[in-house]
Symmetry: C2
Subunit: 345 residues, 2 copies
């Protein structure tokens, strides 16, 4: 998921603006963590390297950016969104820390993952501490809108976890339908992006139709974003993704292109299902991975997934057009959506 | 931690009363879980066995019992405490699911633990789902007291996690002082018991001094309870504890009797420290475990820990005596505290 970094050419300015706005508070929150795990979290966030030296390899701040823009869309100052932006960024990183263990991913953003470096116990407890810290950002605040935001963040965190349960369950299954995969991704990725795209408006006390419209926009963006990510999981170059080639195939993940290929009847499907079954039990050979990719491509699934991503991006932009929001924020939301839905791979 | 079971002779009646009162709501909450993990949680809770058949091996419902009594202590009906009792029981079980992985415990309550049976990923995601479900019990409620209760539960969950960070860190260290161990246990065990003992009163909108007094009582009970548990971790009989003999020694846990023994200077301490260091890197021989127990006993640490437990039990009862609470609830709180602080091992 690494294309243009914030502040680099091609990256929407809101990404670096959100980072500048939200990071001081995120830093303060992380500083509250127990010293026994703080350095692991800082390492995970890309703020320090494995030797404890300052680093700057953090994520793209996509979720804080949506949160900030959603406050501005509702006519509130950017600052209004900060507690929710911090909360969501912490929830997101809680899920990354735990997912890396569950998926046995040893590398993320070109670095060794926390559990692979510090052990499974460290990865579990760091994630636990982050999810508690996350909600605390909103729970501790006195204003009623913060409670509404807390409820929204919590409901979407719950959906996100449900999506991860499905995702894990799908690895055990031979075939998963496209529809099942869409439903899983709506929960696993869509929910927290929908949350990001409306929670600033909740804190700004925007009317319900605006809040729900922004959430719908965020859901479409999330689905497009995840579809592109699924393509990166098969065709992404390791130097771009920070992960091994065909990482999703190696783990028998049932992503969109894979589920689509498994829906096209014929000998190709049987061969692909056989290979994926094998990959679930042993390390695949490079030639087998190449064969699996070939089978997916010849099924037309790459095009189907790309079309689906484009459709959701279009739906997101149309939904945005229907909302009575501040034009500058509208333009930035649209730009960010396009940036995420049209990523290069 | 198994002595008299609820409903058995010697068990305070509040344990079965709390179970009857709280379990229907706990069941409803668990029913909301994703079907992909619900059966694992039900297995963990002792409601079904590994084959999915109904079972009844649940825990003692200590925390729900305190929560219910704390509402009654403040003059409210027992039912007032239920949402908080469910929340705390879920937080407690979230911590058990994750701690079992972190501590690599393969057995709990005489059964295989969830991660040992269903895998590490299953244990992690089940715990994650429970902690989200837990707070949701209070967040979703409209009354202002529920928000106050949610904040309290969350603050204590945070402390509990801090205690677990310390506990894990202590395993890596040769020696831990008695004071450090006390501070760790106050967080790891005391916080959630303090929470249980006051959260019903919070929902009953009791005055702050009553809430804080009950929390203080719960903290003392928690410290006494954990000290007894620490003794069980060395001297407990497996048929009583459901764990292997000297389970804490096997894992180089720095519990109170162990930290106390490491504070008594002399050749015994050096030998014990050497053994514990070895146990951290390899499976101990039975003869080595026996020798470690002998060294701890000859240091006088067993008596020191027993005295400490008795002191905290007494402090708990004194604190209770100072509070303007309903006499019947007072008597039941005192009885439950005694039951926990004077467990047989």
């Amino acid at each position: 998921m690494q294309t243009a970094k914030p502040g680099q050419p091609g990256s929407p300015p809101i990404l670096s603006r959100a980072k500048e706005l939200v990071y001081p508070s995120l830093r303060e929150a992380v500083d509250e963590l127990h010293p026994g795990i703080r350095h692991m979290v800082e390492y995970h966030l890309g703020w320090i390297d494995a030797e404890g030296r300052p680093d700057s390899r953090g994520g793209k701040s996509v979720r804080p950016a949506f949160a900030v823009l959603s406050a501005e869309a509702a006519g509130a100052p950017a600052q209004t969104a900060v507690p929710a932006a911090v909360a969501i960024e912490l929830v997101h990183n809680f899920s990354l820390l735990h997912d890396d263990i569950m998926d046995q991913d040893r590398e993320r953003r070109h670095r060794t993952t926390v559990w692979a470096r510090y052990g499974v116990a460290a990865g579990i407890i760091s994630g636990d501490a982050l999810v508690v810290l996350a909600l605390d950002q909103l729970l501790r605040r006195p204003e009623p809108a913060a409670l509404a935001a807390a409820r929204r963040v919590w409901a979407d965190t719950r959906d996100m976890i449900g999506g991860q349960v499905d995702d894990l369950g799908f690895e055990e299954r031979v075939a998963v339908t496209w529809e099942e995969c869409v439903a899983m991704e709506a929960q696993k990725t869509g929910a927290l992006l929908a949350c990001s795209a409306c929670v600033g408006a909740i804190l700004a006390e925007a009317p319900a139709p605006v809040v729900e419209g922004l959430a719908g926009f965020g859901m479409h963006v999330g689905l497009a974003f995840q579809a592109v990510d699924d393509m990166l999981g098969i065709w992404g170059r390791p130097e771009v993704t920070g992960k091994p080639t065909s990482s999703d195939l190696r783990r028998s993940k049932k992503s969109l292109p894979i589920s689509a290929a498994l829906e096209v009847e014929g000998p190709g499907r049987d061969e692909l299902a056989g290979l994926l079954g094998d990959f679930h039990t042993r390390e695949p050979a490079e030639s087998e991975l190449e064969r699996a990719v070939e089978l997916i491509e010849s099924s037309g699934s790459r095009e189907r997934t790309a079309r689906y991503a484009a459709d959701h991006l279009r739906a997101a932009l149309e939904m945005l057009d229907s909302l009575p929001i501040v034009p500058e924020a509208h333009a930035e939301l649209a730009g960010l959506a396009r940036f995420l839905g049209e990523r290069d791979y």
